[in-house]
């Protein structure tokens, strides 16, 4: 009796449409619900259903392989089809689970951060963002990707700007994100337009087939690939294009930061994988060149420089934001080496990093919730005042550094082995250097939190003040799953390997 037997058949068959339609419709309804608990409850129920659906679809995918859902009954390549395959099933689960955890966490967090009359719109925008992310991951149509990319981006701009109730800099951060995000999306859609010129179709599988027939296509396809890489690079915060990210992460409301850090850039990375290995193919010379010189080069530079920048931050949220840019570098390195093992390692790091960064940002949000702190020097003695929260932060932080028996170790180990196997020994060195830099910036926070006494307010030491249970549950869930992956990594590594084998073939 497996989990799948409990799931009704219609959910397995119609699940892909369900994943994007349910949050989309419920977002509209949530917007007019009363602001109190009703809006939260409806959002919670929706994300819980999404999580169940995502899990059953992913399990079903392991069982039966790639499934196709014809939207509106129109057959591909003319109609829009939703595709579930080994590449996107884990990302779907990731997004759904993170949305559920964020909603649980948001119950206390929004009380502190969002004005009462804005809470229902906040949840509506959140659901819209979830719908956009899930939509761009499940769809098999290149233009539809753009539409969902913009659905998620536009709602993200709104969500980031809602941080203005707490810190006015959220407004200019949201504005910068809007400008760069729109440019990125437009570059992407220009690329899709050129691909359409070259192939005459918008269905990604059909594009891949025609491009393979054309042996990579003419100059138009090359231009298309360039535009798509730059557009997605802006969205996923590839090193020199990451300038929107620190501001957006630092000043958004804490639930939004968590959700963004663990899903938005990951969905863009998924698209990068989808386009470089599925639509295009590394066997075309221009794709191989861009992979080797642009993705690896920028990834490696990002790993070192963004980590260095993280060390010099005084605001812990900005520090973690720069660390995200550095971690994207690991994934780009894995993608750029372009062997099955390295792509699997990059994909594994995509999932692990979402779990790790989600846990870190949740813990950080809880600290802000209790004490209103984000600056480094305010972290003195947090090990005593918020032991459970700081514990979760520590576990996730160690995982970020790559301490054995954590998720971060597994993905860095896999990446190192893959790089060494491919003969990229210097890349191994850079991974080590970047990990040491991570040790420095995470270590600073841990030293302050555990080896200094809490600050004195009016001569009295700050008393123990633990985060509410609704915040502790999601952050410990992520911290424990990080350890769980570190000890028993079969399931996640298996999923990553399946994804890489789906893209590149076994071997």
């Amino acid at each position: 009796m497996s989990f799948l037997d409990l799931v009704p058949d219609w959910l397995l068959i119609h699940g892909p449409a369900f994943l994007m339609a349910l949050p989309l419709i419920m977002a509209a309804i949530t917007a007019i619900l009363p602001n109190k608990r009703v809006a939260w409850t409806s959002t919670f129920i929706v994300t819980a259903i999404l999580t169940l659906t995502a899990f059953s679809i992913a399990l079903y995918n392991v069982e039966v392989g790639t499934t196709l859902y014809k939207m509106g009954g129109w057959a591909p390549p003319h109609g829009i089809s939703l595709v579930i395959d080994a590449l996107n099933a884990p990302v779907i689960v990731l997004i759904a689970v993170m949305s559920l955890l964020t909603v649980v966490y948001a119950l206390p967090a929004t009380v502190a951060e969002i004005r009462p009359n804005k809470r229902a719109p906040f949840y509506a925008a959140f659901l819209l963002c979830t719908a956009g992310l899930l939509g761009m991951v499940v769809t098999g149509d290149a233009f539809n990707v753009f539409v969902f990319l913009e659905v998620s981006s536009i709602s993200t701009y709104v969500l980031v700007a809602m941080g203005a109730a707490r810190d006015r800099r959220a407004l200019s951060a949201a504005y910068n994100y809007l400008i760069l995000g729109s440019i990125g999306a437009t570059f992407f859609v220009i690329g899709v337009g050129f691909l359409y010129m070259e192939t005459g179709t918008l269905n990604m599988a059909d594009m891949a087939r025609i491009l393979a027939d054309l042996d990579g296509g003419s100059r138009v396809a090359k231009v298309a690939f360039g535009f798509i890489i730059i557009g997605l690079g802006l969205k996923l915060a590839m090193f020199p294009l990451h300038t929107w990210l620190p501001g957006a992460y630092a000043y958004a409301p804490t639930p939004v930061t968590t959700f963004l850090a663990s899903t938005a850039t990951k969905a863009a990375l998924y698209l990068l994988l989808r386009f470089t290995f599925f639509v295009f193919d590394p066997s075309y010379a221009y794709v191989a060149d861009i992979l080797m010189f642009i993705l690896v080069g920028l990834g490696v530079i990002g790993m070192v420089f963004a980590s260095l920048q993280a060390i010099f931050q005084t605001d812990v949220r900005r520090m973690l934001a720069f660390s995200s840019v550095a971690q994207v570098g690991y994934m780009l390195l894995g993608i750029g080496i372009a062997t099955t093992a390295s792509v699997a390692a990059g994909y594994l790091h995509l999932i692990n990093h979402a779990i790790i960064k989600g846990g870190l940002f949740l813990a950080l949000g809880a600290m802000w919730y209790r004490f209103g702190i984000t600056r480094m020097e305010d972290f003195r003695g947090l090990g005593q005042t918020m032991p459970l929260t700081m514990g979760a932060f520590t576990v996730s932080g160690l995982s970020l550094i790559g301490v054995p028996f954590t998720a971060g170790f597994i993905s860095k180990l896999n990446l190192t082995v893959a790089a060494a196997d491919a003969g990229w020994l210097w890349a191994v060195g850079v991974i080590m250097v970047s990990s040491i830099l991570a040790l420095i910036y995470i270590g600073r926070v841990l030293l302050l939190a555990y080896f200094q006494s809490p600050p004195k307010v009016n001569g009295v030491e700050v008393a123990r003040n633990e985060a509410p249970i609704a915040m502790l549950i999601p952050m410990w869930f992520l911290a424990l799953s990080s350890i769980f992956i570190g000890i028993k990594s079969d399931a996640v590594v298996g999923a990553a390997t399946r994804a890489a084998e789906f893209l590149l073939g076994a071997g």
Binding site: H14, A17, F18, A21, L24, I25, A27, A28, I29, A31, I32, Y69, K70, M71, G72, G73
Partner: protein
């Protein structure tokens, strides 16, 4: 003779108002023409919604925002936006309950072609409602912003 008030009465905008009063119903009517003509030719919910919203915006420009809000209350906007999306999504869900794929209208009637016809009508109506209300909402949101410098600050 040089006094405009003597010539045109008390309202200096009387020409504008008279012409607008004549034009606004025509614009609204044209919006519905575009909406229902969308079945056979260029047109549809997006364009019709924008045209319909333009008639309300023109009304607001000529007669003032307060009058426009009386004619088209902001309360309607909130529910209108939701109603449109729910109508669109609901059509999809109904297809899904009737046994087809999401948004496969062919199941709506015994004849698939007729089903497609009903489906697109419902969906376009949803688009019309949402686009109209969203356009007016954007206009109201920008138009009814309080000036940042209040009288006390001067």
């Amino acid at each position: 003779m040089s006094d405009p008030e003597a010539k045109f009465g008390r309202d200096p905008h009387v020409l504008l108002r008279v012409i607008a009063k004549f034009l606004i119903p025509l614009i609204a009517l044209f919006a519905f023409y575009v909406q229902f003509h969308g079945d056979y030719g260029p047109g549809g919910g997006f364009q019709a919604g924008v045209i319909l919203a333009a008639s309300v915006i023109l009304y607001a420009l000529i007669f003032g925002l307060t009058e426009a809000k009386k004619a088209f209350p902001p309360r309607l906007i909130r529910y209108g936006m939701t109603l449109g999306v729910v109508l669109y999504g609901g059509t999809g869900v109904v297809n899904f309950i009737l046994g087809g794929e999401f948004l496969n209208y062919s199941n709506l009637a015994s004849d698939p072609a007729a089903g497609q016809h009903y489906g697109i009508l419902a969906v376009e109506l949803g688009v019309l409602i949402t686009v109209t209300t969203v356009m007016i909402a954007i206009f109201y949101a920008f138009g009814s912003r309080q000036p940042e410098t209040s009288n006390e600050d001067w």
